[in-house]
């Protein structure tokens, strides 16, 4: 069976053909290391992820490395491949994944984990590292990185080596080390690799449990492995290369545009936000570099849209000049500029009004919680005045669609906070009447509610999650409360949120849950039409993993957490302090809040540990 015939049977076959403009093409016989970069979701999702393009570009800039891409095949393609015994292959050279030296998975969201197992299986690679070890066959080294690697334990049974933190220098260093030690055993290689900053080798640690199921400690099985793995931090991101020639997909991807990262990290300190904690400290790219990359990327791809990437676009310190320069460049070239997650101050309005001159898409606000008390508790530094002031401005400028994002199940939430959500929606509708009158035409407020999932390395990492029943009750309550004219209500699937919480704060025992769920047929769990709670419930039963223990339980501050093996730079004391506060903590651009990350690196905002040279 050849690929050509396979492709005639499936939907969107261009997902599997490779050969896009700017994709890498090398002679595999002339390189000394072949790396398969695996994204555990569909092509359209993975190709929208900037990190892959960054690392792909860096690895391929080494003449003797060849990095190729592989994505999770769609269900129809998987079925056809299994039927024909066609192994999972890379897009660039259609080489079976199992023939690579290293296979690297990016861990972007927990609900993609079953796809990792499925991709290994489709490659003909045994899922567990112990099975691979015991086999006479040689298999690729399986590595993983990305935000979810900050709690590597749920995948520790399957992955040989995790990379924690910034990957721009760490990933090529791992590849170089592997290439230089090709004749060494896997064990010998791992012993060398675990000394690199940010490298976690799960086989060098054995977690020990107490009778109540919590962790007693980690027993080190290789004495030279670090006690805790400190995340890899690149202090200066201005020197880190972005691709000048990003790959141009043939088919439409989720974000079909060029993207330039403006800064890494966030200074706001929202207590639920994992990205805001693990990417500290904030590090900016110079305006000069951003503009230069933007122009080069647009020229080399022919894309019609440019976007900026960061955790909070308008927090970039040189934001106004940057945006003015980009707007000028884009305007006479029919290129649209898109600026996600803007804070709505007067400049942002000016910019948005300019960018959306002709067609005003919806305007999005994320108050996250319905009352000031709860917003203070989660450190979402936004007041009622901020919200209604911006809304009024937006409606006056002609916006007809307001999107509101909230979370429910936040620590300290009461039904009063749910009433607050409805109140905000009602008042926005009133503001519109006030400005446009009763006959003011089409206007809508879309209230979108997601379920709070406590994440590792955040102040809320000890907090219990609402139960499934709690969520359902709250959704029902909100549905009634939000039965208002011009208001639409949508919410996330609760069973998914519970499983996400179980995996996010899981220990190694959760590996069995993942394995059993996959054996029951789970994959693409992030896709609501594919998610099957019955299969997961069956896996709860067979693995002994329960939501009660992993999601709904309040964890004690003294408890050793599965992810304590990883040092994210910020101190546990800071997280505990933040967890207990009911008042807000300021932006760290204004004042240092003592998260401690500058123990390992220089923080541009200086901070609690002083300047690095003074240490």
């Amino acid at each position: 069976m050849n690929l050509d015939r396979l492709l005639k049977k499936v939907e969107k076959p261009a997902r599997y053909i490779g050969g896009e403009v700017n994709s890498a093409l090398k002679d595999p016989r002339e390189v000394s290391l072949r790396f398969a970069f695996a994204f555990p979701d569909l092509y359209e999702i993975g190709m929208s992820y900037m990190g892959m393009q960054i690392l792909y570009n860096i690895l391929n800039s080494h003449e003797d490395f060849f990095c190729e891409r592989v994505f999770a095949p769609g269900l129809d393609m998987e079925e056809a491949m299994r039927e024909e015994g066609f192994p999972l292959f890379t897009l660039e050279t259609k080489t079976p994944v199992r023939d690579f030296d290293i296979v690297g998975f990016t861990l972007q969201y927990e609900m993609s984990f079953t796809n990792i197992l499925n991709m290994l299986d489709l490659s003909g690679i045994p899922l567990k590292r112990t099975e691979r070890e015991a086999s006479d066959e040689e298999y690729p080294l399986i590595v993983a990185g990305g935000p979810c690697a900050f709690n590597p334990e749920p995948l520790a049974d399957f992955i040989d080596l995790f990379m924690i933190g910034d990957g721009e220098k760490l990933l090529p260093a791992i590849c170089r080390l592997y290439e230089e030690n090709k004749n060494a055993s896997k064990e010998e290689f791992l012993q060398l690799a675990c000394r690199l900053p940010g490298v976690y080798v799960p086989s060098f640690y054995r977690p020990q449990y107490k009778e109540d199921g919590t962790i007693k400690g980690f027993k080190k099985l290789y004495s030279k492995a670090p006690d805790r793995v400190v995340k890899c931090i690149e202090s200066d991101i201005d020197d880190l290369p972005l691709p000048e020639k990003p790959i141009v997909p043939f088919i439409e991807t989720v974000h079909d545009r060029v993207v330039v990262e403006t800064f890494r990290g966030c200074t706001r300190g929202c207590r639920f936000c994992q990205a805001g904690m693990i990417y500290r400290p904030v590090r900016e790219r110079s305006t000069e570099k951003i503009v230069s990359y933007a122009k080069k990327q647009l020229e080399s791809t022919g894309h019609e849209e440019l976007s900026l990437l960061s955790l909070s676009t308008s927090d970039y310190s040189n934001f106004e000049p940057l945006v003015n320069e980009l707007m000028e460049y884009c305007s006479d070239k029919n290129i649209s500029l898109s600026l996600p997650s803007l804070r709505l101050d007067s400049f942002s309005f000016k910019v948005l009004n300019e960018l959306q001159k002709t067609r005003k898409s919806g305007l999005t606000f994320a108050p996250e919680a319905g009352t000031q008390r709860l917003r203070d508790r989660i450190n979402k530094n936004i007041t009622e005045d901020d919200i209604y002031g911006s809304i009024e401005e937006a409606i006056k400028l002609g916006w007809k669609k307001i999107k509101l994002y909230f979370m429910i199940g936040l620590p300290g939430e009461t039904y009063e906070d749910l009433d607050g959500i409805a109140e905000i929606a009602r008042r926005i509708v009133d503001v519109n009447y006030m400005i446009n009158g009763r006959a003011g035409g089409r206007f809508s407020v879309n209230v979108s509610v997601s379920n709070f999932v406590p994440k590792p390395h955040t102040p809320f990492q000890w907090e219990p999650q609402d139960t499934y029943d709690d969520f359902v009750e709250k959704h029902n309550y909100l549905r009634e409360k939000l039965k208002m004219k011009n208001v639409n209500f949508s919410y996330h699937d609760s069973p998914v949120s519970v499983i996400e919480a179980v995996i996010a704060r899981g220990d190694r025992k959760v590996g069995k849950l993942l394995l059993d769920a996959w054996k029951n047929g789970c994959e693409f769990d992030g896709w609501s039409e594919k998610f099957d709670i019955e299969k997961w419930e069956k896996a709860y039963g067979s693995s002994g993993v329960t939501p009660e223990f992993y999601a709904e339980r309040r964890r004690n501050y003294n408890e050793i957490l599965p992810w304590d093996i990883i040092d994210p730079g910020i101190s546990k004391l800071y997280l505990m302090t933040e967890d207990q506060l009911t008042t807000t903590t300021g932006d760290c651009r204004d004042t240092c809040n003592g998260c401690g990350v500058n123990k390992y690196t220089e923080c541009p905002n200086m901070g609690i540990n002083g300047r690095k040279e003074e240490q």
Binding site: R5, P13, A14, I17, F250, I251, E252
Partner: protein
């Protein structure tokens, strides 16, 4: 504004891109080449660029046609060279010629297209006789099953009048059908219908994924 027509071929795995993918691909290839297309006015400006006929996903082609207006005047050969430099492998611009602007678009002027359909003969299948073409064309009606758009039902249609020419050859255990079929606004016969009708006629059950279809040229 100057107007040009490009003739290009589409070969290899890139045949699995759709018509809309091709629109995006050419738009971006022009951008990369530094060739400025003329844009429509209005709220949602789009480049003035149109294909003579959409090519079905999975078909290769020897001669697709694309018409477009540019903001500035270019040498037609320069356009061909610049665009070729910026194309992914599989797409090749064969010719570029300037044309006069007229009311009728390229799409409206199309009337027929030539296709080659390659059908492998399964092991042990009796090789069809030489007079096959004559017998097939001598039918008073050449019926094929066509899916009704609304109901989704398979209904027989007579495609005889839409077949302008047909040649049949058997090479290396493969049947090669070369046909010119109607491809205009008033009559349009998909090569899938010819394939369906022909295989039924000779009593051949085939798996569609074993068949290759290539468009050889488009006629005005």
């Amino acid at each position: 504004m100057p107007r040009y027509v490009i003739t290009f071929s589409k070969q290899g795995l890139i045949k699995y891109t759709s018509h809309l993918d091709m629109v995006r691909l050419f738009k971006r290839a022009f951008n990369r080449s530094g060739i400025y297309l003329e844009y429509s006015n209005g709220f949602n400006p789009h480049p003035k660029m149109v294909f003579a006929q959409p090519l079905a996903l999975g078909y290769t082609s020897e001669g697709e046609l694309l018409e477009f207006d540019t903001r500035d005047e270019y040498d037609a050969d320069d356009i061909r060279n610049m665009v070729n430099k910026n194309m992914p492998s599989g797409i090749r611009v064969l010719r570029c010629v300037p044309i006069e602007k007229e009311k009728k678009s390229l799409a409206a002027k199309c009337c027929a297209a030539e296709y080659r359909i390659t059908v492998p003969l399964p092991e042990g299948h009796e090789t069809p006789e030489n007079a096959l073409r004559e017998r097939f064309l001598a039918q008073s009606e050449i019926t094929a099953l066509k899916k009704e758009k609304k109901t989704g039902e398979m209904k027989p249609v007579d495609i005889k009048s839409g077949i302008r020419s047909l040649e049949i050859k058997i090479v290396d255990n493969k049947i090669l059908l070369t046909a010119i079929l109607d491809a205009g606004s008033s009559s349009n016969i998909s090569p899938e219908l010819l394939l369906n009708s022909f295989t039924n006629f000779i009593g051949l059950t085939i798996e569609r994924e074993t068949v290759e279809i290539s468009r050889l040229q488009i006629f005005m």
